[in-house]
Every structure is written in structure tokens, then in C-alpha cells.
């Protein structure tokens, strides 16, 4: 379905990665209602898509919710508009993981305790693979 591309380049790349059309969502909240960890998800799926609709992708990428999503795909299965949030969350994770790091090399010794708290484990592994050795 052809829809005008989103204004924000970040949202556009999330759309491209996930294959989902953000504008298709009409904010009924069915995804949030069915999410098995909906109480813990912050932001919950419908709100996350709302942030993307408003071009506020940065807020979503910094959130914890995208890492909590277990990709059970209940949201997408019951969505009346055919938008699959599990794929969007996956795309958001990919965007975070692909962010460039400032220093050229990464080793376990360079990681501070603070980083350990903040950086997702997947990101550690990915960066070790890419930037160590």
C-alpha cells in the first residue's frame, strides 16, 4: 500500500526495516490490550507507535519497552489494521544496535560499571564482535 513517507528519517528507516506502515495505525489500542506483558511495557505498543506517528522516534529508541517485547506477535495477529508492532520493536532494536560508537575499539576492560547498567547485553555482544580484536 502506498502511503506518503514519514517526515522523520529515523521513522522512515524504522518503517523500511520493519516493513510496516506507521500511518496505518488508528490508535485503537488492541495491541496494548492483548500484550501479555502490557503492564510492564513502557511505552505500551500503541503508545510506541503513536510516538513514531508524531516523529518522536528518539524517545522510543531510548525506552525500555522495545527491549521487553518478546516478539510473541499477539499484537500484530489481532491488529485490525495489519500493523505488526513486534516487527517495529525489532526494527527499533536493530537501529539502536547499529548506532555508531565513538571509540574505534571496544574491549571488556573499556566498559564502565555505568555502561553495564545502561547498555543492553545484546549491544555489548554485537560491539565486541564488530569492534574487538
Amino acid at each position: 500500500m502506498s502511503k506518503p513517507p514519514s517526515v522523520s528519517p529515523l521513522v522512515r528507516s524504522i518503517e523500511a526495516l520493519s516493513g510496516q506502515v506507521i500511518a496505518d495505525c488508528y490508535q485503537c489500542g488492541c495491541c496494548t490490550a492483548g500484550c501479555p506483558i502490557g503492564e510492564a511495557m513502557d511505552p505500551p505498543p500503541s503508545k510506541a507507535i503513536r510516538l513514531l506517528q508524531l516523529g518522536r522516534a528518539g524517545e522510543l529508541l531510548d525506552s525500555e519497552g522495545i527491549w521487553l517485547c518478546a516478539s510473541c506477535m499477539v499484537c500484530g495477529t489481532r491488529c485490525p489494521r495489519g500493523v505488526d508492532y513486534a516487527l517495529i520493536a525489532e526494527a527499533c532494536r536493530a537501529v539502536v544496535l547499529r548506532r555508531p560508537v565513538r571509540s574505534g575499539r571496544v574491549g571488556p576492560e573499556t566498559v564502565t560499571d555505568e555502561d553495564c547498567e545502561e547498555i543492553p547485553q545484546q549491544a555489548f555482544m554485537a560491539s565486541f564482535r564488530k569492534f574487538s580484536g
Binding site: 488508528y26 490508535q27 485503537c28 489500542g29 488492541c30 495491541c31 496494548t32 490490550a33 492483548g34 500484550c35 502490557g38 503492564e39 511495557m41 511505552p43 505500551p44 500503541s46 503508545k47 499477539v74 489481532r78 491488529c79 485490525p80 489494521r81 495489519g82
Partner: protein, 682 residues
């Protein structure tokens, strides 16, 4: 009168049935017999056309085109002075064809053809070159637009050059109407037509009339009792001297054409003599067989011999053969024993009756979405999840619980009721993509009525958007919230049973969180869908349906109660979901259209129909298979196809399907198409 065969126009044109005599523009019997004299009139349409197309240049170019004797332009050709210019020019320049380069023919073709006719030019010799919608509005560059406008005009001139003088086909009208479906739409249409003095045949598949409205408790936004406002209409219909009622019957077959239909009606066996029965009801009291009542939508039972409701019109029971012990096992016969008038007829069979009518109103109505389409909502599996119509029966004073709200599983009064809106509506992935229009209001009404019945009850409505575009609707919605109904914004994801409770997974999108609700009863506002029986009938009648089975109107704005097939009209939810006031208004509108037809002794049909060159036709029957209107039939005796011009809508499908080129289209012949194509690729 139209005959079932066509003639070759070169030999003899169609019978002059119109007001104009055939001699009006005698010289042009055949286009090749003399040089055509074409007048071209280019309309500015304010700046709509002139803002893009260089009109003076187009006029100059038109003057050089073959056959053109005069070309002029005017600000608004559709205005009175604009039409006068055309009329004057026809007389002064002795024009025998006119081309108006202006807007779409759907808007002003009739205007200009009429203007030409007033100046003595045959109605079918004026052609439109659409240089607005197909050129000015879709082209930015002025040079390109002017070139394209020239091309379009040249094509129209090529077509006009081959136009013959045609006369409209006159058809006599049988001034009786058939109304299919006796819900409130069919009842209203039938009453309006009958009260105007014409006979109506009203066919209803159920044993009595009233449709879904007879199932409703009270109606929004006034909360007047549905039965109380409906029964005066059903009684009037039942007693009307000009309404012939066929209940427990279905339309089996319709043949013929506008003004002259033959209808075959199948009457299902009632097993009760309609004339002998007095409707005393003794049989229904004594019948030992009990089955689920469809009318009560799973909320109550009925006997094998039954009527839908105590106020049934006609008040005559029927026997459900599948439930009747005597008809299944040959034993019982209680109803026959107790009947004081010996009206039971176990040997009854289905019968067919024929009716002749001139117009048909289709009021085939709606159903609610199949439970299977909403598997996540548990309906059909969880007993305390019911649909909106079932809840109407619980609220109805004449319903199975006499208006007391009791849940189906254990008969307890539910203290917490969750109403789920958009159950299948606005859901293109699992249900129907459209809005069912009535659910926002009836859910608000049901919540209000529930709170009236159960004072300490809690009503929660899960909604996506509340839509209240109607008189008094917004106020009614406010009333629901004022009376303590909780509105929770979010679509429900899942409904399931937990112990004796029903759990609802909803969300509160305004607070941005997931919500789990515990309910005693859940009411789904299931999507309104076209009645499956209506869809089946419409397909047999070759009516046009939209992608969801709703009947398609001839024009969404300007011809909302007509269909594309002459003589067929629409009313009620068969055309699309709507509430009672809209349904009644539409039914009266359909009746008005029928009456407008009955006001004439003859109706005239456009003669731009298909015709067969019998010298070429081999009678292969491709045309007959292709025709959507049943207008073409192969005459088996003579081995050639014959066109019923009264039925033919001039769509042209048959002439495309014809392998030998025998089938053609008056004033859109193959020759004119070739020449237009030649002009287009020049």
C-alpha cells in the same frame, strides 16, 4: 412496445415512440449520404477549463477539423445564454451534429442534448468532449492541455459524424410494485406506494413481518418502545386492501424488464391452513417440542409450532418441520387434536405463485457478523458473551425474560456488564473494514437501559471512537456518561471465561495502559453485514453488490435509492448499515421513485442499445453469457441473437464478446470506434 429482437438501423430505425417525429432531421439517415455539418462549442467553465486550456486557440483548431462548419466558445455553455447560442447556431448554420467540449457527460450531456432537441436536432446527435475532468483538471502545462483538449474534441467530432438519429424506446408500465423484505424499510415502502393508490406485493421470508425492528427493546435516542412504534405499521400493512402479503415466502425468480416483471414466489409449507386458523394460540401452548428460537437469538426457546411474537402480523403460526415430532416421527399430533378449527395440515407442501409487477424495491436487510469471524472474542464458546441483538431480547418487555436482564449461563442478574464496540467493524484484517454506523448509539442505549433495570449494576463500554452524527445523538451519548456508564477508550483484544466470570483484555489508551476487566456478561456490538439471503437473491437478480455484499446504488449521491438496473430500487440496510430514521427516509424515497415511474403510462428507455446484424450472427451465445442484464438471448429457432432493448443498458459488453462482429452498439458502432482510434493516433 419493445420486442425481443433488434433491427438493422440502416433498414429501418427503431419504432418512433418518442414525442419527436422521425422526419425532424430526415436528411441524415445514413452518415455517408451527405457531408456532416458539425458545430463545436467550447465551454470555459469559468477558469476550470480556460485557466489551463487555451480556449481561443482550441476554437481556431476546431474550425479546421473535418465536417466542422462552426466553432465557438462561451464562458458557461450550460447557462441559459450558453444553450441559446447552441440552439441559434443549429438553426442558422443548419447543423446536423453538435459537439460540446465541456465537463463530464454525466453532468451536462442531458442539458446539451435537450438544448439541441429544442432547436430540432435529434437528441442523440449531440456529443460531449470531456475537456475538464479528463484534461484541464489533470494537466498542468498549458500547451499540453491545449493539445490534449484538441485530441479529445477531434475524437468527439469523429464519433458525432457517425451518430444516427434515434428515438427513445417506449415501454408500458404495470403499475404494481413488489417489495422484497418486510422489515421497517419494506413496510414503509409498501405503505407509501399502497397509500398512493397502487397495489403492492410484499414478500417476507419470516412467518410474520417487522424484521429486526420487532426484536428491539427501545430505540435511540428517544427511548421509545420499538414494538409500540412498529406495531401500528405492521397492523396497517396486514390490513391494507392494496397490500398483498406473502409471508414465509421467498422470491424464487424474476424475469422481464422495467415496467413488466414476472415474479415467481416460493411459499414455504406452513403446515397450518392460513384461512382456517384464527390465531387462538392453543396449539402453541400444547406443543411438547421445544427448540432454540432464532428470533430470541439463543436467549429463549419456542415450540415446534410457533409465531415470532405475540403481536405477529399475520397472527398465524407455522410448524417448524425439523422440530415437529409428528413430522419427524409420525407420532404426537397434539396441535391437530387441540385445534378448534382443524387448521393443521401435516401434508402441506411448498407452493409457487406468480405475480406481475412493474417495479421492485429490494429491502433485504442485515444480519450480524458471524461469530466464527470473532474467535478472539469467545462468542459462541463462552455462554455469557452475547451479541447486541441477543441483549435486545433480554431487554425487551416481550422477550424471553420479560425485560429482566438475566445472563444466559446461570440466569443470574449480571452486576458488571462490559460492552465491546467495533466487534468486527472497522477491522479490515479479521472482519469488515467499514463502520457499522449504529453500534455507538445502540451500545449507549443498552448501557442506559441496563442501568435502568439493574440499579447497582456497572456498565463499561470499550470503544475506539464514539461517533454521534445524528439529531440528538451526541446528547444521548452524554446522557449515557451522565447516568454512570464508564467509557474506556481502547479496542478489546481478547475475551475468555475464568470460573463464572468473563475476562476482558482491554486497554485504556488515554491513560496509556493495559486493563483487565472482570465481567458477568459481555455484549458485543457485532458488525452489521448484508443479509446472506439478500446477497444470494441479489446475485440471482444480477444486482450490483459492493465488496461486502451490500447493494450498490446507481449514484452514491444523486441516485441513492435506484440501482443500475431499470425498475429496481433500494431501501434499508441491504444497501448499507443505517438506523431506523435513515431507513424509513430511504424507504419513502424509494417509494417516491416507484410512484414517479407509476405516474407515467409509458417510460422511455435510451435507444443507445446493442443491436445484432443478423446476416453475420451465427448464434454462438457469447453475448448471452456476457450480458449482466439478461437482455440478450439467442433465438434458437432462427439461430441468431436477439436484444431486448427494454432491458439493454447499453454497456457494450456483448459487442466486445462477439467473435464475429455481428453485435454492435447504436451510435457507438465499430466504425465510429475505428475512426475515433484513428484520430487518436494520428
Amino acid at each position: 412496445m419493445a420486442e425481443g429482437k433488434s433491427r438493422r438501423p440502416e433498414v429501418a430505425g427503431p419504432e418512433p415512440a418518442g414525442t419527436q417525429s422521425a422526419s425532424t432531421d430526415k436528411p441524415a439517415i445514413s452518415p455517408v449520404s451527405r457531408r456532416p455539418r458539425v458545430g463545436v462549442f467550447v465551454c470555459h467553465c469559468g477558469i476550470n477549463i480556460a485557466g489551463v486550456v487555451r480556449v481561443p486557440e482550441l476554437v481556431e483548431r476546431a474550425k479546421t477539423m473535418p465536417g466542422v462548419v462552426v466553432a465557438r466558445d462561451y464562458q458557461y455553455c450550460c447557462s441559459d445564454p450558453g444553450q441559446q447560442i447552441i440552439r441559434d447556431s443549429i438553426k442558422a448554420d443548419k447543423l446536423d451534429r453538435v459537439v460540446v467540449a465541456c465537463c463530464s457527460p454525466t453532468l451536462h450531456e442531458a442539458t446539451f442534448r435537450k438544448a439541441g432537441e429544442e432547436a430540432g436536432l435529434n437528441y442523440y446527435r449531440t456529443e460531449i468532449a470531456n475537456i475538464r475532468e479528463q484534461c484541464a483538471w489533470v494537466t498542468k502545462d498549458r500547451d499540453e492541455a491545449t493539445d490534449k483538449a484538441e485530441d479529445i474534441t477531434r475524437l468527439a467530432i469523429a464519433r458525432a459524424t457517425h451518430d444516427e438519429s434515434l428515438e427513445p424506446v417506449g415501454v408500458t408500465v404495470n403499475k404494481r410494485a413488489l417489495v422484497v423484505g418486510a422489515g421497517i424499510a419494506g413496510i414503509q415502502a409498501a405503505l407509501d406506494i399502497a397509500n398512493a393508490g397502487y397495489e403492492v406485493v410484499l414478500v417476507e421470508k419470516q412467518p410474520s413481518i417487522g424484521g429486526h425492528m420487532a426484536q428491539l427493546s427501545e430505540t435511540f435516542p428517544t427511548l421509545d418502545c420499538s414494538q409500540c412504534i412498529l406495531t401500528p405499521r405492521t397492523v396497517e400493512t396486514g390490513r391494507h386492501s392494496r397490500i398483498k402479503l406473502h409471508t414465509y415466502s421467498e422470491v424464487a425468480e424474476v424475469s422481464g424488464y422495467i415496467g413488466n416483471f414476472k415474479v415467481r414466489i416460493r411459499q414455504k409449507p406452513r403446515y397450518v391452513d392460513f384461512d382456517a386458523c384464527t390465531g387462538c394460540g392453543l396449539c402453541m401452548e400444547k406443543c411438547p417440542a421445544r427448540v432454540e428460537a432464532d428470533f430470541e437469538r439463543g436467549m429463549g426457546k419456542r415450540r415446534a409450532i410457533y409465531r415470532l411474537l405475540p403481536q405477529a402480523v399475520p397472527n398465524r403460526p407455522v410448524i417448524d418441520a425439523e422440530a415437529c415430532i409428528y413430522l419427524q416421527k409420525g407420532k404426537c399430533g397434539v396441535c391437530a387434536k387441540v385445534c378448534p378449527t382443524q387448521a393443521i395440515r401435516y401434508d402441506d407442501t411448498e407452493k409457487f405463485v406468480e405475480e406481475e409487477v412493474g417495479a421492485i424495491v429490494l429491502a433485504t436487510g442485515y444480519e450480524l457478523l458471524d461469530h466464527e469471524k470473532m474467535s478472539a472474542y469467545g462468542i459462541g464458546r463462552v455462554p455469557d458473551v452475547i451479541d447486541g441483538l441477543a441483549f435486545e431480547r433480554l431487554l425487551s418487555a416481550s422477550g424471553p425474560t420479560q425485560g429482566e436482564v438475566k445472563r444466559p449461563s446461570d440466569g443470574r442478574v449480571p452486576k458488571k456488564v462490559v460492552f465491546v464496540q467495533c466487534a468486527g467493524s472497522r477491522d479490515r484484517e479479521h472482519g469488515m473494514p467499514y463502520c457499522s454506523k449504529i453500534c455507538c448509539m445502540y451500545t449507549a442505549k443498552q448501557a442506559i437501559l441496563y442501568k435502568h433495570r439493574v440499579h447497582d449494576g456497572e456498565a463499561t463500554i470499550c470503544y475506539i471512537d464514539v461517533r454521534t452524527p445524528g439529531k440528538g445523538f451526541e446528547e444521548f451519548y452524554q446522557r449515557a456518561t451522565d447516568e454512570g456508564t464508564t467509557y474506556l477508550r481502547g479496542k478489546v483484544s481478547k475475551i475468555f471465561r475464568q470460573g463464572d466470570k468473563v475476562m476482558v483484555w482491554a486497554s485504556d489508551t488515554l491513560a496509556g495502559r493495559k486493563v483487565e476487566l472482570e465481567a458477568d456478561l459481555v455484549v458485543l456490538a457485532s458488525a452489521v453485514v448484508a443479509s446472506p439471503d439478500g446477497v444470494e437473491l441479489a446475485k440471482r437478480l444480477k444486482m450490483q453488490l459492493d465488496g461486502h455484499g451490500f447493494l450498490t446504488e446507481a449514484h452514491p449521491k444523486l441516485r441513492p435509492v435506484e440501482t443500475l438496473t431499470g425498475g429496481f430500487f433500494l431501501a434499508g440496510c441491504g444497501q448499507g448499515p443505517k438506523d431506523i430514521p435513515d431507513t424509513v427516509a430511504q424507504a419513502s424515497a424509494a417509494a417516491a421513485k416507484v410512484l414517479a415511474m407509476f405516474g407515467q403510462d409509458k417510460i422511455f428507455h435510451a435507444p443507445t442499445t446493442a443491436w445484432v446484424d443478423e446476416d453475420i450472427c451465427v448464434g454462438c451465445g457469447n453475448c448471452e453469457l456476457t450480458c449482466a442484464y439478461g437482455a440478450v438471448k439467442v433465438d434458437l429457432q432462427r439461430g441468431v441473437a436477439a436484444v431486448n432493448v427494454a432491458l439493454c443498458e447499453g454497456c457494450g459488453a456483448c459487442s466486445v464478446a462477439c467473435p464475429s462482429g455481428a453485435m454492435s452498439h447504436r451510435n457507438f458502432s465499430k466504425k465510429s470506434i475505428y475512426e475515433m482510434t484513428e484520430e487518436a493516433v494520428r
